[in-house]
Subunit: 122 residues, 2 copies
């Protein structure tokens, strides 16, 4: 798949809230995922599909998504970017907030091999 | 200015090829600029408006732009992304190539305070 095809599929999955399916279908076993920040003692970086899937499952289990938009993709060479805006509640603290972030993805061999998220630190 | 306003102005400048004017009008004195890679012995990171302007001037002096497109912006919170595609010649080696990159910008206080470029390393 080209970068454009991977990007279009990822956006389609995310618009349906199918984040797990996106990772299963499109991510390389060697995916590296970088957050803007991490809790004390944790790493910004998750390496490998097992760690990245675990991070995704934690997110889905701990957030209720009330509504959201997925804009993009912008595609350039091996990279593409997407804008995510979600109205969510962080369930452990019953705290509702607006999550807005820019995600950048790198594609190699038809799979996503790198993702990085840009957002303001709370 | 909001993130959206800064993003729209930056894209408008870049579509006119006015990269220097974009930096002069929109960049913080404390801008940090991050490349995907750097030549041996050089840094990926430029800090401060003087270094960032110098990098931009070097780029403009050493490249002939035949054509290009600027797509976006995608805006989310304090960040936005833009896709650049340029057909350029690197003048010192008379080498023509297609430059495609995703740029991510962070806005604070109405100015761009961080930019990062994502592209395949040659």
């Amino acid at each position: 798949m080209t970068t454009q095809e991977v990007a279009d599929k990822l956006v389609a999955y995310c618009r349906e809230g199918k984040f797990d399916e996106a990772a299963a279908a499109l991510y390389s076993p060697d995916i590296v995922s970088m957050e803007a920040g991490a809790p004390p003692g944790m790493s910004r970086e998750s390496k490998g599909i097992a760690q990245v899937k675990a991070k995704g499952e934690w997110w889905v289990a701990n957030h209720e998504v009330h509504s959201g938009t997925v804009e993009g993709p912008l595609v350039a060479g091996a990279h593409f970017s997407v804008a995510f805006k979600f109205d969510v509640t962080f369930k452990p603290e019953n705290k509702r907030f607006q999550m807005e972030e820019i995600a950048v993805y790198k594609v190699a061999g038809g799979k996503v091999v790198y993702e990085e998220f840009f957002y303001a630190m709370g």
